[in-house]
Symmetry: C2
C-alpha cells in the first residue's frame, strides 16, 4: 500500500516542533468546530449496563432517523436501504468488495482522496484516473473521456462531491451526464457525499440518489465525521436502492459483526442538531474560505481552484516540486518562529507527474491563524531556493 | 459470502416470538455479564468537545496500558507492537490482508468461528480446514496432518484459543508443536485469543506470544468484547513483534483512518478492572458450565465436548440433521410455552458433511434459564420426529 502524501511529512513536523518551531497545520481535514453537544450528551446519558453488539446493519432507530434526514435533503430512501458502517471508510471498502472482483476497474476523476487507493488495493481493484484541471476548478472532465476509458472490466465511476481535495461541487448537469453514461454501460455511480452540507455561495448539493432512473446504479457513501465534527465516532453509511447490492453488503457487514454502539448513539442524537448549527458552521467556513482566497491572492505566481464545497483548497505554487517545498517548510524555514504544514497534491493523483506543483490547504483553522499561515506561506515562497 | 449458520434461523425465531412462544437463546456469544462500570463511566466523564480521530494505530496511552496488561499475562510486548483495531474482526481482516495474496492458503482446525470464512473470502484467501473431533474435545489434530497440508501457497496456521465454538484450551505442548512447524516452514501462527481470561479448572491460557523464538512468526488477535462484556465497543488489536508485518498493518490501518475514539476511552479504562471482576465472572461461567454439563448428561444419546475455556459447548445430538432440528425447535416445538434456539454446527465446519449432528451452545445465560433451556432440549429430543 502507498504511504499517504501527508504521513511522509509527519516526522519532519515532529522534528520542527522539537526545535521549538510552531507548526500550523494546513494539511489536515480534522474540523476544529465543536461536536454538537446533544451528540456527546446522548452517550453520557445512555443507560447502558452491557455494551452489546448492535445489528450488523446498524441500529433500527438510527436508520429510521437517517432516512428522515435524507428526506430533508430531497433523498427518498427506506431504512432498509441504509447500511450503517464504521466510518465512510468502511462503506467504501464494502462497496468495492461488493461490486468488483480482483482486476476490475473503477474510474475516478483525479485528484482524489488518497485513501481510495488503499481501499482499491485491499480489494484488488484497479483505479483508472481521469485528470481534471485546476484551471477550471477541477470540474468534471468531458463525458466522452469517461466513455473512452470504459472497458469490460469497468464496474463503476466514483466521485467525491463536494470534492476532497478539490473543493469542487458537481452540478446537477454533471451528475446527469454521468448517470446517463453508467446506465448506458450498466455500471455503478458511487458518490462520496460526506461533505454534503458544506456547499457555499448559495449552491445546492445534488445527490446521486436524487437522479431519477438510477435505483440499480447509484451508491451513496456518507459519514458523520465532517458533518458533525465527529471524525472519531467512526460512523458512516452506505445507501443504495439496489436490493442485490445491499444484500451482498449486509454479508460483509455481518462478518465484522456490527458498527460501534456508543458512536451510533452519538450519531443518532446528532441528527437532532438544529439547522442553526449548520448555518453557523457554513458561515464560518465561508468566511474562512473567503479570507483564504483573499490572502492567497496576494502571493505572486500562484493559481487557485476556487472551492464551492468541503473545506479544502487546491493551490498551484510557483515551485517545481511541492513535495520538496513542503518538506523544506518543515525542515528549513520559519517566520517569526512558525511554519506551516501543507499536503503536497501529487499524492492525490494516480497519474505520475500530475499535481507536482500543487498543494491542498484545509481551511479548518480559526481565521487569525489562517491569515498567519498564509502569510508564512508567502514569506516562505520569497525565500525558497528550490 | 456464505450466510452465518445462525442468521438463517433468525426469521424462524422471530416468527416463534410472534406466535407468543418464548425463545431462549443458546445460540449467541453476547455475554449477559455487566460491562465494568469504570469503562462506561470513563466515556460519560470524558471532557470531549471535538470528537477527533485517534492515531491510526490507536491512542498511545491505551497501547501503553495494553502492554502492561499483557505483561501481567506473561506476554512481553512494546506499545509499538500493538495495533488497535475496530474489533478483533478488523484485526483478523488486516492480518489476512497483510500476510496473504489472493489464492494463498491459511490452515485452520475445524470447527472454527464462521466469520473466519468471511474475512478469508473478502481477502481472496483459501481456508484449508483440518478436522478436529468431538471425541477428544476437539484437541489439536496430529501435527503430521498439519504438515501434510502445507503447500507453497500456505501462509499461516490460525487457531482460536480458547476455542469458539469448541471451548477447547490448547496446551503449551500443542502450541509448541505448532510453533516448531511454522518455524520450519516459515509460516505465521495466528492465535485469536479473545477468550484468554475464560479458562477453567485452574488451567492457564498459553499465549502464542509466550512461545520463544517466534518473534517473526507469531501474530495474536485480541478484543475487549468478551473480556469486559463490551462487544458493542468494537475495539480489538493485533499484536506482533514482526516489524515488517506491523508496518504493513499500519498502512491498512491508515487507510481506514482510526479506530473508534469513544470506545478506546472505555477500553483503556476497562484495563483498570480489578481482578475480583474476573474471579466473579470466571466463577459464574464455571458454575454455568458445570450446570450445563450436568443437565446435558441427563439427555440420552448425546456426546459432549467438555469445555475448558470460552463459553461455548459443542454437543452431538441423537439427530440426523441438526440444521433441521434447530429449525424444527423454532417452527414446531414448545414446552410450556418456550423453546430454544441453538447454533447448528455444520456452519462452523468448512468440510461439507462434518458436524451435521452437532450444535453449539453458548452458556451466557443465568443458571435458572440455562437449566430450563436444557430441559426444553431434552423434551424436544423426545418429541422430534426427524
Amino acid at each position: 500500500m502507498p504511504a499517504s502524501p501527508i504521513r511522509k511529512l509527519v516526522p519532519y513536523a515532529e522534528a520542527a516542533k522539537k526545535r521549538g518551531v510552531e507548526v500550523i497545520h494546513l494539511n489536515i481535514g480534522q474540523p476544529d468546530i465543536k461536536t454538537p453537544k446533544a451528540a456527546l450528551d446522548a452517550v453520557r446519558q445512555a443507560p447502558i449496563e452491557v455494551l452489546e453488539y448492535s445489528r450488523s446493519e446498524g441500529n433500527e432507530s438510527y436508520r429510521v432517523k437517517l432516512a428522515q434526514y435524507y428526506a430533508g435533503h430531497g433523498i427518498r430512501v427506506e431504512p432498509g436501504q441504509i447500511l450503517v458502517t464504521t466510518g465512510g471508510s468502511e462503506a467504501l471498502s464494502i462497496v468495492m468488495g461488493c461490486i468488483a472482483d480482483p482486476g476490475d476497474e473503477i474510474i475516478i476523476p483525479e485528484p482524489f482522496y488518497a485513501n481510495y487507493n488503499g481501499f482499491a488495493i485491499a480489494n484488488g481493484v484497479k483505479v483508472i484516473p481521469i485528470a481534471s484541471d485546476i484551471s477550471d476548478n477541477f470540474a468534471l472532465p468531458p463525458i466522452e473521456t469517461f466513455e473512452s476509458y470504459i472497458t469490460s472490466r469497468t464496474r463503476a465511476i466514483l466521485l467525491c462531491n463536494p470534492g476532497n481535495p478539490t473543493g469542487y461541487l458537481y452540478s446537477q448537469e454533471e451528475i446527469r451526464k454521468l448517470a446517463d453514461l453508467v446506465k448506458k454501460h450498466n455500471l455503478f455511480l458511487i458518490a462520496d457525499e460526506v461533505y454534503r452540507e458544506f456547499a457555499y455561495d448559495g449552491k445546492q448539493h445534488y445527490s446521486v440518489l436524487r437522479e431519477p432512473g438510477m435505483d440499480m446504479h447509484a451508491i451513496m457513501v456518507d459519514s458523520v465525521s465532517k458533518r458533525y465534527s465527529m471524525c472519531g465516532a467512526r460512523i458512516g453509511c452506505m445507501v443504495s436502492r439496489n436490493p442485490d447490492l445491499m444484500q451482498a453488503a449486509l454479508k460483509f457487514a455481518q462478518a465484522r459483526l456490527s458498527p460501534p454502539t456508543l458512536a451510533q448513539i452519538a450519531s443518532e442524537a446528532a441528527l437532532d442538531t438544529p439547522p442553526e448549527y449548520f448555518e453557523e458552521v457554513i458561515g464560518e467556513y465561508t468566511a474562512r474560505r473567503d479570507l483564504l482566497l483573499e490572502e492567497l491572492s496576494k502571493i505572486p505566481g500562484i493559481r487557485i481552484a476556487r472551492p464551492q464545497g468541503a473545506f479544502y483548497c487546491m493551490v498551484e505554487l510557483p515551485v517545481k516540486d511541492a513535495d520538496h517545498f513542503a518538506q523544506w517548510l518543515l525542515e528549513e524555514f520559519h517566520w517569526k518562529g512558525a511554519t506551516v504544514m501543507v499536503a503536497p497534491a501529487a499524492g492525490f493523483y494516480a497519474t505520475p507527474g500530475l499535481g507536482s506543483r500543487e498543494v491542498r490547504i484545509a481551511y479548518v483553522l480559526e481565521q487569525d491563524l489562517l491569515r498567519k499561515a498564509v502569510r508564512i506561506l508567502r514569506e516562505a515562497l520569497k525565500n525558497y531556493p528550490g
